[in-house]
């Protein structure tokens, strides 16, 4: 019994690492640019397809292809910020919500048109190999992706703490007007935030390929997870998103194990609704009066 629970927890943590990459991106954008990127999942999907084609056409291992998908998506983020997002900043909610929502619809359906709905999978030499640690089964592919996800998250954390640009982003996140007065160019900061967030999403996609199929709608599952993690981890809080993602991975996994194979999602949603009911400001948020 304990072994089953432990296995479920391990499974949950491993996938939680991927959720973290996606949700950190969402919370970063929300914290810095103050908009919610409904299309975040679609960039995971794009990362997946990039790795898929690099693997099938050039034999490049998906994990290695992270080095390619991340820069591509970073540039995409900068362009999207410059041409689209910048035009709806400072307006009220409606344009901001529906712009990224429309973007999400657009990318999903363009993918449907070009890639068709077929599931694409990659089979690597390590896709079926696993580490056996005291009765716990840890697939190499998931372990590698988890480790890399943590490395990337750590790198981001260092970036936010130590570099000027990172600090500028944190400043803009906390108080935009003051940041602007101090000479920080908001558009530049926003572009970098978008770039980083999308790059992380792309990395998540690439890391998923060895053990997850790519298809146009795949983004929607991850974005929903990401949103729940962002709320649970407190809006704008990167560390919170990380912790919440891991928690949710575990919750989902336990749900699948003990409630039913199709109940992972419902457990996560219930988690969201409970959070909303009891502490809407999330784990790190203050108490609202």
């Amino acid at each position: 019994m304990l072994e089953t629970v432990l296995q479920a927890v391990v499974n949950g943590l491993l996938i939680g690492g991927i959720y973290a990459l996606v949700s950190i991106g969402v919370t970063l954008i929300f914290g810095v640019v103050k908009i919610v990127n409904f299309a975040q999942g679609e960039f995971v999907m794009i990362g997946m397809y990039i790795s898929y084609y690099l693997s099938t056409q050039f034999g490049i291992d998906p994990v290695v292809s992270v080095l390619i998908s991340m820069p591509i998506l970073f540039v995409a983020g900068v362009l999207i910020q410059h041409y689209l997002i910048r035009r709806v900043l400072g307006l009220n909610d409606l344009p901001q919500i529906f712009l990224t929502f429309a973007l999400s619809l657009l990318i999903t359906n363009l993918s449907l048109m070009f890639f068709t709905a077929n599931y694409r999978t990659i089979h690597t030499w390590y896709s079926d190999e696993a580490l056996h640690l005291g009765g716990i089964y840890i697939p190499y592919a998931k372990l590698v992706s988890f480790v890399l996800a943590m490395v990337l998250s750590g790198a981001l954390w260092l970036f936010l703490r130590s570099t000027d640009l990172g600090k500028a982003m944190r400043a803009a996140s906390q108080n935009r007007d003051v940041a602007q007065l101090m000479g920080i160019n908001p558009n530049r900061v926003f572009a970098v935030a978008l770039g980083i967030a999308l790059a992380l999403a792309g990395a998540a996609g690439s890391l998923l390929m060895p053990f997850y199929p790519a298809y146009p709608m795949v983004g929607q599952v991850f974005v929903l997870m990401a949103f729940v993690a962002v709320v649970l981890g407190t809006l704008g809080n990167v560390l919170g998103a990380l912790v919440a993602s891991l928690l949710m991975g575990v919750a989902e996994s336990l749900g699948i194990q003990f409630v039913g194979a199709d109940s992972g999602l419902i457990v996560v949603f219930v988690l969201l609704l409970v959070t909303l009911a009891l502490k809407p400001s999330g784990l790190a948020g203050g108490w609202r009066k």
Binding site: I35, V36, F38, L84, R87, V88, L91, N92, D93, L94, P95, Q96, I97, F98, L99, F101, A102, L103, L105, L106, T108, N109, L110, S111, L112, M113, T116, A117, P216, L224, F227, V228, V231, L235, G260, D262, S263, L265, I266, F269, V270, L272, L273, L276, A277, P280
Partner: protein, 323 residues
């Protein structure tokens, strides 16, 4: 002023007469189908618009009420033999009641996170109906037994009566909207949509107003759910709680003009016409093309004219009076 009011009433009456006599003139089943689709989404859009357009509470989870309405009337019909006419009203009531806990939960977050919460609750409902077979037939759903022409059970052997039902529903929804627009509630809705704090400071009980409009919006949307089930003789969780219903309700309102009376209607006409043109040019072969075009239109509207078609004209006339 009087003159334009008179013209408006004149055009409106003409339009009403047109819509009433249209099915008698149009014989093509295909065209009737399109008209039904237009009326259906104009109706759902108008219902959505009350909450999302006027009060700017951007829900993308209205499929929750659509599905609840659909399932309520179907369950009453199949399990208890109760006519869907009654089932429709009961379904509306169920939707209305559901909006209370859903609203309570979702309003705890603001802006985009409200939107996400509505998506989540609609999803949870779909998952519940998928998983719990004892509730209502589970994932396979059920068909409605075809009784041929049975007006008392909301079944007809041709499309025309369905058209009239929807026309009636749309007229009701538009009348409710127009009435609200002119009344205190209308002002309160727009005020809280613009600035909740300022509204509160001006004496608006924001919580109560949001709750009330959510109830009305949910009630109407649920009616549509019943209608649709009767129209296609089938129900399952994926259809009843389909995310596309939520999307399209918002979409037609935004494109046509949120927070305006005719916005959803105009938006529906525009989008459905586009769909038909697309389908005739490209056929149904390329999956995803319709939503691709919709999303491009939505993006264009958001970037260029977030207030939509009707909003554009309204702003022009407002600008004229500000000089």
């Amino acid at each position: 002023m009087i003159k334009s009011n008179l013209i408006y009433k004149y055009v409106l009456s003409l339009l009403l007469v047109l819509m009433v006599f249209l099915p008698l003139v149009v014989k093509s089943s295909f065209v009737l189908e399109i008209l039904v689709r237009i009326l259906l989404f104009a109706f759902i859009g108008t219902a959505w618009n009350l909450l999302g357009g006027y009060a700017k509470q951007l829900s993308l989870g209205h499929s929750a009420f659509f599905g609840l309405g659909a399932y309520t009337s179907t369950l009453l019909q199949i399990d208890l033999g109760i006519s869907p006419w009654i089932g429709m009203v009961v379904g509306g009531g169920v939707g209305l009641l559901a909006s209370l806990p859903i609203g309570w939960l979702c309003f705890r977050l603001k802006g985009p996170y409200f939107t996400i919460s509505t998506i989540a609750t609609a999803n949870v409902l779909m998952l519940i109906f998928l998983k719990f077979r004892d509730l209502a037939w589970g994932a396979e759903g059920t068909t409605i037994p075809n009784l041929g022409n049975a007006p008392l059970m909301m079944q007809f052997d041709n499309k025309v009566p369905y058209y009239y039902i929807l026309l009636g529903l749309l007229i009701i929804a538009l009348t409710i909207t127009a009435w609200i627009e002119r009344s205190r509630m209308g002002y309160y809705l727009i005020a809280l949509g613009e600035d909740e704090d300022a509204a509160e400071a001006s004496g608006v009980d924001v919580v109560k107003v949001k709750r009330n409009i959510y109830m009305i919006s949910a009630f109407l949307t649920a009616l549509a759910g019943t209608f649709y089930t009767q129209y296609i003789y089938f129900i399952d969780p994926q259809t009843a709680f389909n995310f596309n219903v939520s999307i399209e309700a918002a979409l037609v309102s935004i494109v046509g003009g949120i927070g305006t009376l005719w916005g959803p209607v105009i938006g529906t006409v525009l989008l459905e016409t586009t769909t038909i043109l697309l389908q005739s040019y490209l056929g149904n072969s390329i999956g995803g093309i319709q939503l691709t075009v919709y999303s491009l239109i939505l993006m264009a509207v958001i970037l260029v004219r977030p207030t939509g078609i009707v909003g554009y004209f309204k702003e022009k006339s407002q600008a004229r009076s500000s000089t």
